[in-house]
């Protein structure tokens, strides 16, 4: 999973595969981080907001 694991090989398969994994993880991670941070800011800014879903 990480380049320091001994199974790690620098080849196309590993790039594509782990690339995909880290890409997905990053989107999920960054997306959530964005949401949390934005919500904190929104909360600090105050106001309940009046969103309708």
């Amino acid at each position: 999973m990480l380049p320091f694991c001994f199974e790690w090989v620098y080849d196309m398969g590993h790039f594509v595969f782990h690339g995909g994994l880290w890409y997905a993880l990053s989107i999920i991670g960054m997306g959530m981080t964005y949401c949390v941070i934005k919500s904190v800011i929104d909360t600090i800014k105050g106001g309940k907001g009046n969103h309708l879903h």
């Binding site: 997905a24 989107i27 929104d42 309940k48 907001g49 879903h53």
Partner: protein, 438 residues
């Protein structure tokens, strides 16, 4: 009593009734939990699996719930990516069902592996050539996505939503949901596919083995396709069941018919491909490995040609056709029958791809291996069902799952007072606006 937690403008059964139902289901859950603990503490000797059946009921259950849970990714794809906005009325429930299916799958996997404490090695020491690695990666990522999709729903609970941070969080998450949904669809495409690949790459097992496109065997595509096709059947079937149980119309016909139609076309196209695949396998792949296709459906008590017929015709072509023709699609009986047949069909498909694969003798002098699951296996397989029912019950009661429910089931009188809506005992009176007792 719990009226403060119940979404505004909808009516729920009495808490007692709810708790009674909950406790019955919990009893079943407990049975499953006991079996699960037995498997963890005493080991997998508690099952009837053996060295011929390394994969058995659990793996089938896994594959089946993931196929059925495919409704979540496919509805998400349709709504967020393709833009079928109508489906927003179904998407919450689809997400919930997906979440249940995927969490169940992970739980079953955690019971199924011999050394659950080491299961993270699949990530840490990943062998990228293994379909199972791909499954594990995508499955856990997609489960994360489903959780993310489910969280805003929880946050929309009347009381939780009062907390500004959660309110904002729910809002913001909705805002970026399309990205999550897209990621989810991508991941789901791969893990549904790799689950198919799990069987298709087994070149030592001519029953399961399929030729490849690039690195993926045909089953890769067939599984994705079938999950997208039959997953919505499950979502719609569960919606129908929920409506029957709650004796309420919860979703308008339009989104249901839309999803049913899409599902129908997906099924029919899948069946075309699946039929070609079966034909090619029977006439080319299997013979080239020394097997007459009929060999796989003979000389054993269970796997006959009926199985093949049930999967392809009864559980495939028939529901597909029922759903693409408007009269049968719009008729509630034939439509629901189609959903049911479709679910059965995909479950049979997953069953044969796992269990028949194990049962078929490959060495010429080997014999068919049959297997009957132990009660521990059955209980742990029912466990997620009970867990799913509980989660649906709780979510339905406290979360705004069905956006159209209020409209379809207007409560007589004003919608302003919680007391009136719920018609609770005076105990519900004391102060609906107090913080929830969590």
């Amino acid at each position: 009593m719990d009226s403060a937690l119940i979404p505004e403008g909808v009516k729920r059964c009495s808490l007692w009734k709810f708790l009674l139902a909950l406790s019955i289901t919990s009893g079943v859950l407990l049975w499953g939990v006991i079996a699960m603990l037995l498997c963890w503490i005493k080991g997998l000797n508690q099952t009837n699996m053996n060295d011929y059946y390394g994969f058995a009921l659990w793996i089938w259950a896994d594959l089946a719930v993931i196929a059925l849970g495919g409704g979540a990714f496919f509805s998400g794809l349709l709504k967020y990516i393709i833009g079928k906005d109508e489906l927003k009325n179904l998407i919450n429930y689809a997400v919930l069902i997906g979440f249940i299916c995927y969490s169940s799958a992970l739980l079953i996997l955690a019971i199924d592996v011999g050394q659950p404490m080491r299961s993270w090695f699949i990530f840490w020491h990943a062998n990228i050539h293994s379909m199972l690695t791909e499954v594990a990666f995508c499955l856990s990522c997609y489960f994360a996505v489903l959780t993310i999709e489910y969280i805003p729903l929880i946050l929309e609970n009347r009381q939780i939503n009062k907390v500004p941070f959660f309110h904002h969080l729910a809002h913001n998450m909705h805002g970026v949901m399309a990205i999550f949904a897209a990621t989810g669809a991508f991941l789901s495409f791969f893990h549904q596919g790799s689950l198919g690949g799990v069987a298709g790459v087994l070149f030592g097992r001519p029953f399961a083995f399929r030729d490849h496109i690039l690195i993926w065997p045909y089953t890769f595509f067939l599984f994705t396709w079938s999950a997208a096709a039959f997953g919505p059947c499950f979502t719609l079937f569960i919606t129908w069941m929920t409506e029957k149980i709650t004796r309420k119309k919860l979703v308008k016909d339009k989104p249901i018919l839309l999803l049913a139609k899409i599902s129908g076309w997906m099924i029919v196209t899948y069946m075309v491909v699946k039929s070609i695949d079966t034909w090619y396998w029977a006439t080319h792949t299997a013979p080239s490995l020394g097997f007459n296709w009929e060999f796989f459906f003979k000389n054993n008590p269970l796997y006959g040609k009926t199985m093949l017929f049930s999967e392809i015709i009864l559980g495939g072509w028939i529901p597909g056709l029922l759903l693409i023709f408007r009269p049968t699609r719009e008729n509630s009986v034939t439509r629901t029958t189609a959903f049911f047949l479709g679910m059965a069909g995909v479950c049979i498909n997953r069953w044969v791809m796992v269990l028949q694969t194990m049962a078929v003798p490959v060495m010429s002098f080997d014999s068919w291996a049959m297997y009957i699951p132990s009660w521990q296996e059955v209980a742990t397989t029912i466990l997620p069902v009970a867990y799913g029912v509980i989660l649906v019950m709780i979510s339905y009661r406290y979360l705004p799952i069905f956006p159209q429910e209020k409209e379809l089931n207007p409560i007589e009188g004003s919608a302003g007072s919680v007391d009136k809506q719920v018609g609770q005992t005076p105990a519900g009176d004391d102060s609906p606006l107090q913080p929830a007792q969590i």
